[in-house]
């Protein structure tokens, strides 16, 4: 009861942004094209898997993302605090 009430209150607070004008969405054609491209890409990855195992990519991908983000965040903080 208490948890539900808190979450409903949070929703009510966030929902106040609906007073602002809505931002339009992508055209459906564009979204469909992206989906088709994605399906084309991932449905045919088995050949890539043969030469470059997907399991390696699944491990390497988050590490690369983390390294890139760390680098960027560090630069942002350095600029914010030291103006360099």
């Amino acid at each position: 009861m208490i948890i539900e009430t808190l979450f409903n209150l949070l929703y009510g607070v966030i929902n106040t942004i609906s007073l602002l004008p809505n931002i339009p969405n992508f055209p459906n054609v564009f979204i469909t094209a992206i989906q088709r491209f994605k399906n084309l890409l991932f449905d045919n990855l088995q050949l890539l898997d043969f030469f470059f195992p997907i399991e390696i990519m699944k491990v390497a991908f988050p590490i690369i993302v983390i390294l890139v983000i760390v680098q960027k965040v560090f630069k942002i903080f350095r600029f914010a605090f030291f103006k360099r």
Binding site: E4, N22, I23, L45, Q46, I54, L67, K75, R78
Partner: protein, 382 residues
């Protein structure tokens, strides 16, 4: 008032003590168990003994829950003091029967039946006709007949008995078993030891039913039975008081238990949301954000969709599908469609398999070193 209370308390104490005391078994002595003791024991008790005397196969019986006592009535309708014992195992659905055995208990009931097997009266061995404390289930489907006798079988949960088994008169067998269910102790005695006692008990039975007594003996017996009647009255009174007390304690326990459950359920309802609350909440939030932020929110969704698709990829066999290759004018097929399974080709050939394993090892090492190198560059860069 105090005297009455102390008297009741004293009687109650005596009752509690008596419930745990019974006579030690001996050759001619029978057990006196309280109903409470026996009802606990009857649930699952064992009789194990080796039959060294009778001309039957040795047996080792384990009983579960039920004893059937088959009573014998001779064809002329004259009541005989013979009980054929059937041991019925409710779990295995097996009946153990030895027709030459007879059940006799000093404190057990005698059953008088009519021709249809209905119970006319019960005799508890102490001269009291009663059904109190006994639970009897008529199972007439076990009725059977032979040329000599009829057997009426009853499923009886005994109370307040110790019992002895001994052989039939006519069979001249010698074995008698006395069984103490509490100490799991059995004792064999000869038929000669019991015959006299058995006859006495039969005479007692006839006397107590009043068939062969004179009016004077009936009066004397009535006077003699007065203490028993008074004793039984107090037994019943105390038993009822104890039951009332137990019921009261159980009621209080149930009340506390229900109260505890009510409090726990109330706390659960207060803090734990319903099962699908969060699912609905996130759906509602997703719809709201999508409607409000349009393509900005959809972009995130597309990226998340890509990442999810990437992480749900599974290792499959590498198959190259080549379609039909046709001559464009007449559509004549030059090369038929075919599939090349690279995985099976590499796995079937030992050399290729070795090379492939080396290649994948190299890839693993290359990726690992590349990541380390990139991490080093990032560290130097910052």
């Amino acid at each position: 008032m105090k005297k009455i209370l102390f008297s009741i308390l004293g009687l109650f104490t005596v009752f509690l003590i008596n419930t745990n005391v019974y006579a030690a078994p001996s050759a001619m002595e029978y057990l006196y168990l309280s109903e409470h003791d026996y009802l606990e024991l009857i649930e699952n008790f064992e009789v194990n003994y080796l039959n060294n005397y009778l001309n039957v196969v040795d047996f080792d019986w384990t009983f579960n829950n039920r004893i059937l006592v088959s009573r014998t009535i001779w064809k002329n309708g004259e009541l005989e003091k013979n009980y054929h014992l059937l041991f019925y195992d409710e779990i295995t659905n097996q009946t153990y029967n030895n027709g030459s055995f007879v059940l006799y208990c000093k404190n057990f009931m005698d059953i008088i039946l009519d021709e249809n097997g209905n119970i006319l009266s019960l005799f508890d061995g102490r001269g009291v006709n009663t059904m109190a404390g006994y639970f009897i289930f008529d199972i007439n489907n076990l009725l059977y007949e032979n040329t000599f006798q009829q057997h009426y079988s009853y499923n009886i949960v005994f109370s307040n008995i110790g019992f002895a088994l001994y052989s039939d008169y006519s069979s001249k067998n010698e074995l008698v078993l006395f069984y103490d269910p509490i100490n799991n102790h059995s004792k064999n005695i000869t038929k000669d030891d019991l015959t006299t006692d058995l006859d006495n008990k039969y005479n007692d039975y006839v006397g107590d039913t009043g068939e062969n007594l004179s009016w004077f003996e009936k009066i004397v017996n009535g006077i003699i039975n007065i203490p028993n009647t008074i004793s039984k009255f107090f037994d019943n009174l105390i038993s009822n008081m104890v039951n009332l007390f137990i019921d009261l304690i159980e009621s209080i326990g149930n009340l506390l238990s229900n109260l505890g459950n009510f409090i726990i359920n109330g706390i659960k309802t207060l803090f734990v949301p319903s099962d699908d609350f969060f699912t609905k909440w996130f759906d509602k939030m997703d719809n709201m954000m999508s409607a409000q932020f349009g393509f900005l929110y959809s972009s995130f969704n597309l990226i998340i969709d890509f990442i999810e698709s990437f992480y749900t990829l599974e290792e499959t066999e590498a198959i190259i599908n080549i379609p039909n290759i046709k001559e464009p004018i007449s559509d004549t097929i030059i090369i038929n469609a075919t599939s090349i399974n690279l995985t099976s080709i590499f796995n079937s050939n030992a050399t290729l398999s070795l090379l492939y394993n080396l290649y994948t090892t190299y890839i693993f090492a290359w990726v690992a070193f590349a990541l380390i190198n990139y991490g080093r560059k990032v560290f130097l860069n910052i």
